[in-house]
């Protein structure tokens, strides 16, 4: 162990101690994804060549089942105050480092601006999916393929991709 620690110091790769807030975030995500997959498996599998109607029907069925199973969900369940602070700090750093003007330009491309959102409901059908520039995604905690981040205005939304469902959101994460 000592050798490994020394080696890590020598190569400059000393890992930061795990942040409890991130650990909690990851645990909650893991639980969510487990539920998502269990409910999804109970649905008829979407064919590889589906019609738009089949895709839509599948999304809505899964969304209903998840919403029913998580009826006690509340805002901030994933984006806890500690995670919100970390996300804001991380995004501020990446915007400063990578060029705020360009990144904000990309984020605001097709971004609908502020609007009322309700967790555990369908992502508004009329609302475009905003751009998530790769440096921004790299600065956020990684997600399983079932979930993704999107911005609506300056809000960061945690979106269930397959169910098109708003899992959580946090306000004013962008400067």
């Amino acid at each position: 162990m000592l050798i490994l620690c020394l080696l890590a110091v020598a190569t400059g790769s000393v890992p930061n101690p795990p942040n409890p807030a991130f650990q909690e975030f990851e645990t909650r995500l893991k639980d969510y994804v487990a539920l998502h997959r269990k409910l999804e498996e109970a649905l008829p599998k979407l064919p590889d060549k589906a019609t738009p109607e089949e895709i839509d029907r599948n999304q809505r069925q899964l969304g209903k089942r998840i919403a029913a199973s998580r009826s006690d969900s509340r805002p901030g369940e994933f984006f806890t105050p500690a995670i919100q602070d970390l996300v804001r700090a991380s995004l501020k750093d990446v915007l400063n480092d990578m060029g705020k003007k360009n990144l904000m330009g990309s984020i605001m491309d097709e971004n609908p601006g502020p609007m009322k959102l309700v967790i555990n409901t369908r992502y508004p059908d009329e609302v475009p999916l905003s751009t998530m520039p790769p440096p921004i995604l790299a600065a956020l905690p990684p997600l399983e393929e079932d979930l993704e981040y999107r911005f609506i205005g300056r809000r960061l939304v945690l979106l269930d991709v397959h169910a098109h469902l708003i899992v959580d959101y946090t306000d004013e994460v962008l400067p």
Binding site: L46, P47, D48, K49, A50, T51, P52, E53, E54, I55, D56, N58, Q59, N102, G105, S106, D109, E110, D125, E126, V127, P128, L129, S130, T131, M132, P133, P134, P135, L137, A138, E145, E148, V161, H162, H164
Partner: protein
């Protein structure tokens, strides 16, 4: 350009053989480009395809571009269309799939043309299941062309996660085709003022492309047409000019631009026969805004 002019351009272009400029064709080494004006040879048995990106607006210019593609198809019967992402802008309800894709491209779909999607930053991941994007439920995949020894590698450039990069590495290494062509949304090279080159993606992908003999890369994201000067022996295109448009967004005098067009919507037509890929970029009005011949890269001994 009116229809008559397009017909003349295509007729001349298709009939006069292949007037190559720029001297004898090199036969070894990196992919090289012989610049235009060149014709599409329209040979029997060749692979004929189109490239389209950032198109799914549902607005009139997209419909006009689709109509132009149909007119070209009558003379140059391309079989497949590579979609480099942002296939649907805004809402993605069933009616949006129709208005933004199925209706404008119905005549081509009826002709049996197959579209192969890659996902852009505005696309929902569920598009991978959509029947007419032929993604087989996958975010990244490869497929063999219907003619000629050509394999296309389709990537999800929004999420270049390690699993995908590992898959790509193995897929490229296992591919026995002469032509390896990659396409995805974010451009490793672009002179766009709005987005520009995705340098991190380039650092990830380019070594794999160079090592494994990829000859051509098609991308979108920036809303114009650009052909990049060959980079490490690979020819990169930005074809994000299918529906959205960013007029004047190509950085003037960009050192990486071989040819740029940002005044109107445009798509790319290409034909592969043996070691040669002939291409033409065609605008919504039928103007051929770029053309040339690319000779494929060959593995160094």
């Amino acid at each position: 350009m009116p229809r008559f002019t397009l017909a003349v351009v295509l007729a001349c272009s298709l009939a006069c053989g292949c007037p190559m400029l720029g001297g004898p064709l090199p036969t070894k080494g990196p992919a090289s480009v012989i610049e235009a004006p060149v014709a599409l040879p329209n040979e029997n048995g060749s692979l004929k395809f189109a490239v389209l990106g950032d198109f799914g607006t549902g607005f009139r210019p997209e419909y006009e571009l689709a109509q132009r593609m149909l007119e070209v198809h009558k003379q140059f019967p391309f079989e497949i269309v590579l979609l480099v992402g942002d296939n649907l802008y805004g809402a993605e309800r069933p009616q949006d799939f129709k208005r933004k894709f199925e209706t404008p491209f119905k005549p081509l779909l009826d002709e049996g043309v197959k579209f192969y999607g890659a996902l852009g930053n505005h696309d929902a991941r569920e598009q991978r299941f959509y029947e007419f994007f032929n993604m087989g439920g996958k975010l990244y995949f490869s497929f063999h062309a219907p003619h000629e020894p050509v394999r296309f590698f389709v990537l999800d450039s929004t999420y270049p996660v390690p699993e995908q990069i590992e898959w790509l590495k193995k897929e490229l290494e296992d591919s026995k085709e002469d032509w390896k062509i990659a396409y995805f949304h974010h451009p490793p090279y672009s002179s766009g003022g709005r987005h520009g080159s995705d340098v991190k993606l380039r650092q990830t992908l380019e070594p794999l492309f160079v090592k494994n003999n990829v000859s051509v890369v098609f991308t979108g994201h920036d809303h114009f047409y650009e052909r990049i000067k060959p980079q490490q022996g690979i020819v990169y295109f930005v074809v994000g000019s299918g529906g959205m448009l960013a007029p004047g967004d190509i950085t003037p005098n960009s050192p990486i631009t071989d040819k740029g067009f940002d005044r109107d919507r445009a798509f790319l037509m290409a034909e592969i026969k043996d070691d040669k890929m002939t291409f033409q970029a065609i605008s919504r009005t039928g103007e051929v805004v770029d053309s040339g011949i690319i000779l494929r890269r060959k593995q160094n001994p």
